[in-house]
Symmetry: C2
Subunit: 332 residues, 2 copies
């Protein structure tokens, strides 16, 4: 069987990041780490979709500025989001004027864009790349579920789409957190059809990718200070721990889920956060700060995505899911 | 200003291709070159979306078989399509079981997936990659425009979404058509808001990428036997020739557009074909055959994409467009 893991000889660095998060999100653990804390989730725009796009533009520009660079220094923007035809990323790319590769991996987009960006850098095909994604609670609700005005009741297995965006500026050289390898995931589908239970749908994909990463690298879970999944939520995280344990690997000692930690637990969010912005914000604010400060030295970042659409669900299909893993290390 | 062009030192090869096309498409020039000619555009499925997905699965499997390989030999599938959340590609990836990178570039997807795939191969991060995309007239109509049952009249500037799919199997080594460079496009938006006039919307993006490719490579248009755009259609192709001419570059001698050549001109299609499947089918059947036979030696393949959604149009936005270029050459 083929290796699914790419090893980066030159270990491209994350030299700067930038994040924006909504009002609800900033009340949680990331509040002190986010660069731009919104006071209104409309972000001065007339529609939720335009607010989402503005968040993405803000973090792309923010990451470039935080690295002390100009847009003209950047070879490529790699981005995607949850909206149909990734319009947030496409319109942000228009306004930034950068060469653009659109990607779609639903909530796995942060890991996918980091993996693709690191490949371009490591091979010498680019010097500086921005990887970015985001999501907005209100735009995701009305696209994937119901108009907010209906006031639908959320079931207890549901998660709450994070309003936020994160960007990482990757460089071929420099100091900062290094991307040492990436594992490209396969689509896994255990037959879950409940679109309110993303954690259960995505856990098998996370399990598959984590186990393959460990096998391909010959590593033990203890190699990592943290194995961080994207947005499985509390229930999905428990399922993941069970699934990996059944396969003979115990990740319970060092596994955390961005969706589980992003909110202070209050009633609305049930299982925690979801959305492409969830892992993007947690990685590029909280986790990046901890790594820069030397408090975390090795992280396996595993963003997970549910690749459904309202059409596929309407046609009776189950939810195919994917997870990509990126190994982040502070090198001397 | 940065170069937008990546040069592939090892020139990854397209070692095999596979194509499927619908009934209307097979009446045109590609009819004799397509591997699987459909007798019904439903392809034995119950919905248009499932038919689109089946076309994609067929060409992915076809390209692997035509290369004399097994799915286990393939490191990665890079694919996307026009449907919301790229469900055709995601479900095809589920059923193929390959590691999967989802990309979104609307009708530029064939060039984007070739460029990303060639980068992974050239840098030594993979040995065999499948790049694939497709589209279906009926699924695109009901998602982007109106239900077919309404029988809406098409305006004369409209194009016809191609029912078809194409896949290319790229290898790090081997014989066949070589990918020697790729130019990653920037999003261009000249303010066109007519969603029936994709040719006019996309022509500026094609112009920008072609001129940048020629500048980055120091080449003259005459270097290429053909400069092939994706799906500008007859009107868009004329606009492209005008735009490049205004910038001092004459491509009129060797420019053709896949959308313009795919159909025998009959009333329905007006300006010709469009859709991600348009350039995917023409490249992987007709053009690939001509290159393999030595009748064409150098092609600049420039697939163009309109990155709009029904939501962005509904909110009054214009149509942001992109074009990626891939240089294909038969090397000795």
């Amino acid at each position: 069987m083929q290796s699914q893991t790419i090893f980066f000889k030159h270990a491209p660095r994350i030299v700067a990041t930038s994040t924006v998060a909504g009002t609800k999100e900033c009340r949680g653990i990331i509040g002190r780490y986010v660069e731009t804390a919104l006071t209104s989730d409309m972000f001065g725009e007339k529609t939720f979709e335009k607010a989402e796009c503005k968040m993405l533009k803000t973090v792309i520009g923010g990451a470039i500025a935080n690295a002390g660079m100009q847009p003209g220094d950047i070879d490529m923007l790699i981005s995607g989001d949850l909206l149909n035809q990734i319009i947030s990323a496409s319109f942000a790319a228009r306004d930034c004027g950068l060469p653009f590769l659109g990607v779609y991996g639903a909530c796995s987009t942060m890991a996918e864009s980091l993996a693709v960006g690191a490949t371009f850098l490591d091979g010498g095909y680019a010097n500086h790349v921005v990887a970015a994604t985001g999501s907005h609670f209100a735009s995701a609700e009305r696209q994937y579920r119901y108009p907010l005005e209906l006031g639908c009741t959320r079931p207890p297995q549901a998660q709450w789409t994070v309003t936020g965006a994160g960007a990482a500026l990757l460089s071929r050289e420099g100091s900062g957190v290094a991307i040492t390898s990436a594992t490209i995931g396969r689509v896994r589908d255990f037959g879950v059809t409940d679109v309110n239970n993303m954690g259960a749908a995505m856990a098998p994909a996370a399990c598959d990718t984590i186990l393959r990463h460990l096998r391909d690298t010959g590593r033990d879970p203890a190699y990592y200070d943290l194995i961080v999944t994207g947005d499985l939520g509390a229930l999905g995280s428990r399922i993941l721990k069970d699934l990996t344990w059944e396969k003979g690997t115990d990740i319970s000692q060092n596994h955390v889920d961005c969706g589980e930690i992003i909110y202070d637990v209050i009633e609305d969010e049930f299982q925690g956060g979801s959305g492409a912005g969830c892992s993007a914000v947690v990685l590029n604010s909280y986790l990046y700060s901890k790594m820069k400060a030397g408090l975390l030295k090795r992280i396996l970042f595993v963003a997970t995505g549910a690749l459904l659409s309202t059409v596929s669900s309407g046609q009776g299909e189950s939810i195919p899911c994917i997870a990509h893993a990126v190994s982040l290390e502070t090198l001397k």
